[in-house]
């Protein structure tokens, strides 16, 4: 049954990919694509629910299903096996559940697109690989899914590849991920060499045993985390995610917010057996996570593209998840994955609805006053905004508050410093999200007259999904994910003496969210010159932030340009043209020159040849006479 969960979306990919694209001559119409493209993921979701019920009936003993033996090399057998436990259940529910509703949303969003069938084929392909990633028992299967989601992400970012910028963004995502994958592969090599297996449950068990294995847990942990930084857009490999917004908005919601980018979090949580023995690696994760969260939040404050704000907010929230992982609160990180999937999918789809209503406009400076025109989108967007800002009792409040608490008090590396940075980030999160809400939906309209005339609420397939996700964003916090996972991913101990801080910190985090709301309301709810004055007084900082800390430019100058220079001067001009081509051309020229000289002997005159023979004979005779 686990195999079926994975294979159903693949079937959808094959059907849609062959029948509904130019490949198969567009044999079938949009109704077929809709039914197949949405039906199979929903079916997968139903099967996941059933698997969860089976799991509960079996007393939460992990279900293992071996689908196929891939290779038998020496004594090691590589199997495509699926593994279903509590963690898998949570992730698979999110992937298929949120995935399915985003598929349904896409029906409305993409209905006028020529490549409707291709879009659904890619989405189904993504779902297939993501399920492979989540359900795989071995790191090898996980890696196949890992690469596969990268591929489908590339295909979907560059979905409208007629615009070269989109194709370039896809390429950037793919290449940046490849850097992380190098670390991931090295980690796998180290693990396989040490244990002779890549099955994750066995690896965790090997680290949890009485005698510690003869391999540095920190080394493995850091190598795997490098892979996670690529997929989950952490510093320093975060640069691809904002550019990935070039894809269609449902893709941004599904792949670049709700599911794929959380694969890194899943990986670390899944391998928590290793990280429990790697305090150094955990510290690196916590620091990178909180730095990413802070850095991305500062950039999000000044972005003007509605999707870019959400993209940086995603990076920031992923940073929060890694912070939780770094302080040992694996279950809490997964909890944030879940709530984040709800509210960020809702936000992205809401943004999609706005973009849809405005005919493709993404610049918040040209929006405003949309609340009355598209009320359903506004209400759902507002709920999701409040959820991500951490206003109780919405979903984001619970998960974020737990992250802040463990960042403060965990015995596995929590510290007030981590809490301070994370709390500042939470404040900024509330501020930039309410700023976005205000600029988009409230205040006076800044749209051109023509655009304003065409504004319309989205069709039911889109608004229905928005309402559903907003509902989940509102109540998702009451799903006790950490408690559900505790049997598998125990929560870290907290410092005894810090226990009495729990309530004050709770109050502080609520206050921070409200403070962010108030600041945004004060700045953007009033007259425009308040913002303008602020911007002018911090002109340098504003420029610095708008340019995203010039990180793209830094990479371009430090890595890109030297690489181009070396390729051009050393490899192309010196190596290829001079050395390789030069050698060949030199040999050819030598052959031609010597042929020209020797060709003069071939006069065609037999007499001359006879003379040569004579000279040769005489020479040979003389030589033999002298030497015998």
């Amino acid at each position: 049954m686990l195999t079926l969960i994975v294979l159903l979306p693949l079937l959808g990919f094959v059907l849609n990919g062959v029948l509904a694209t130019r490949l198969g001559g567009n044999l079938v119409g949009k109704p077929f694509v809709t039914v197949v493209g949405c039906g199979l993921p929903i079916l997968s979701f139903v099967l996941v629910v059933k698997a969860l019920l089976d799991l509960r009936a079996a007393g939460f003993a992990p279900i293992v299903e071996i689908a196929y033996r891939w290779a038998l090399i020496g004594n090691s057998s590589f199997e495509i096996a699926f593994y279903f436990d509590r963690l898998t259940a949570v992730m698979a529910l999110i992937v298929t559940g949120v995935g399915s509703v985003i598929h349904i949303y896409s029906v409305g969003y993409m209905k006028d697109d020529d490549s409707f069938g291709r879009f659904f084929a890619y989405l189904n392909l993504f779902l297939f690989f993501m399920l492979l990633l989540v359900l795989g028992r071995s790191l090898l299967v996980l890696f196949v899914g890992w690469e596969g989601v990268g591929l489908s992400s590339y295909l979907l970012i560059g979905f409208w590849f007629h615009d070269l910028a989109n194709a370039r963004a896809g390429k950037k995502a793919f290449i940046t991920n490849r850097i992380g994958d190098a670390g991931f592969l090295l980690g796998m090599f180290v693990l396989f060499q040490a244990f002779g297996t890549l099955d994750m449950d066995r690896l965790n068990a090997a680290f949890g045993g009485a005698t510690l294995p003869a391999v540095s847990a920190s080394l493995v942990g850091i190598l795997l985390f490098i892979g996670a930084t690529g997929k989950s857009a952490q510093i320093p490999l975060h640069v691809w995610l904002p550019d990935a917004m070039a894809g269609p908005t449902p893709v941004s919601a599904l792949i670049h917010a709700a599911t794929m980018v959380t694969a890194g979090v899943y990986l670390v949580a899944r391998m928590s057996g290793i990280y429990l023995h790697a305090p150094e690696a955990s510290m690196v994760i916590a620091v990178i996570g909180v730095a990413t969260a802070f850095f991305a939040a500062t950039v999000a404050v000044v972005q003007t593209d509605i999707k870019k704000v959400l993209a940086y907010s995603t990076i920031s929230q992923l940073g929060f998840m890694f912070l939780a992982l770094g302080v040992g609160a694996y279950g809490v990180a997964i909890f944030h994955v879940v709530t984040h999937a709800f509210f960020k999918a809702c936000l992205f789809l809401g943004a999609g609805s706005v973009i849809h209503a405005l005919g493709g406009e993404q610049d918040v400076r040209k929006m405003g006053g949309l609340a009355r025109k598209i009320p359903i989108t506004f209400v759902t967007f507002a709920i999701a905004t409040a959820a991500i800002a951490g206003i109780p009792p919405l979903a984001g409040f619970f998960s974020k508050d737990e992250i802040l608490w463990y960042a403060f008090a965990s015995t596995r590396g929590g510290s007030p410093l981590l809490w301070g940075v994370a709390a500042a980030t939470a404040l900024m999160t509330a501020f930039y999200m309410f700023r976005l809400l205000w600029l988009t939906f409230l205040g006076k309209s800044r749209m051109s007259h023509e655009v304003e005339h065409h504004v319309h609420e989205s069709p039911l397939s889109m608004t229905g999904v928005l309402v559903l996700l907003a509902l989940l964003s509102a109540v998702g916090g009451f799903i006790a994910v950490p408690h559900f996972l505790e049997a598998q991913l125990p929560l870290p101990e907290v410092h005894e003496e810090l226990h009495h801080f729990e309530t004050p910190l709770l109050v502080v985090s609520v206050a921070l969210a409200l403070l962010g709301l108030a600041a945004a309301a004060f700045l953007f709810g009033g007259t425009a010159d308040r913002v303008e004055r602020l911007r002018r007084s911090f002109a340098g900082l504003h420029r610095w932030l708008s340019a995203k800390y010039y990180i793209d430019e830094l990479y371009e100058n430090v890595i890109g340009k030297p690489l181009v220079w070396v390729s051009d001067v050393v490899f192309l001009r010196l190596g290829d043209r001079r050395l390789l081509d030069g050698t060949l051309n030199g040999m050819a020229a030598f052959g031609r020159g010597s042929a020209g000289v020797l060709g003069r002997l071939q006069t065609g005159s037999l007499h001359l040849y006879a003379w040569f023979v004579l000279v040769g004979i005489v020479g040979a005779l003389l030589w033999s006479w002298r030497h015998v």
Partner: protein
């Protein structure tokens, strides 16, 4: 000057005559004949030495050369015939198609 010396002298004379002929004459048929002359000079020297050393190896080699010479001339004459048919001359100067 005994007989052996005389015969060797004749053999050398035959060979040199043939060689000079091949080198200086322009008529293809004459050149072929000169080549035969050289072969015969060699044959004569072989026979002479065979007589002198009272062995049969040299004489056997002579028969081999006869066979080779026959085959050679049997191939060469048709080639010359074809060439003549093509060029309408026996002059070697016209046969320079293989000039490099």
């Amino acid at each position: 000057m005994d007989r052996t010396q005389l015969l060797i002298g004749v053999a050398v004379a035959l060979f040199s005559l043939g060689l000079v002929g091949v080198i200086v004459r322009r008529n293809v048929l004459v050149m072929l004949m000169c080549m035969e002359l050289m072969l015969n000079g060699v044959n004569l020297s072989l026979v002479t030495f065979a007589q002198q050393t009272a062995t049969t190896v040299g004489a056997v080699l002579v028969f081999l050369i006869f066979v080779v010479a026959t085959v050679e001339i049997a191939l060469a004459i048709p080639i010359v015939l074809l060439l003549v048919r093509d060029k309408r001359t026996l002059d070697l100067g016209a046969y320079n198609d293989l000039k490099g």
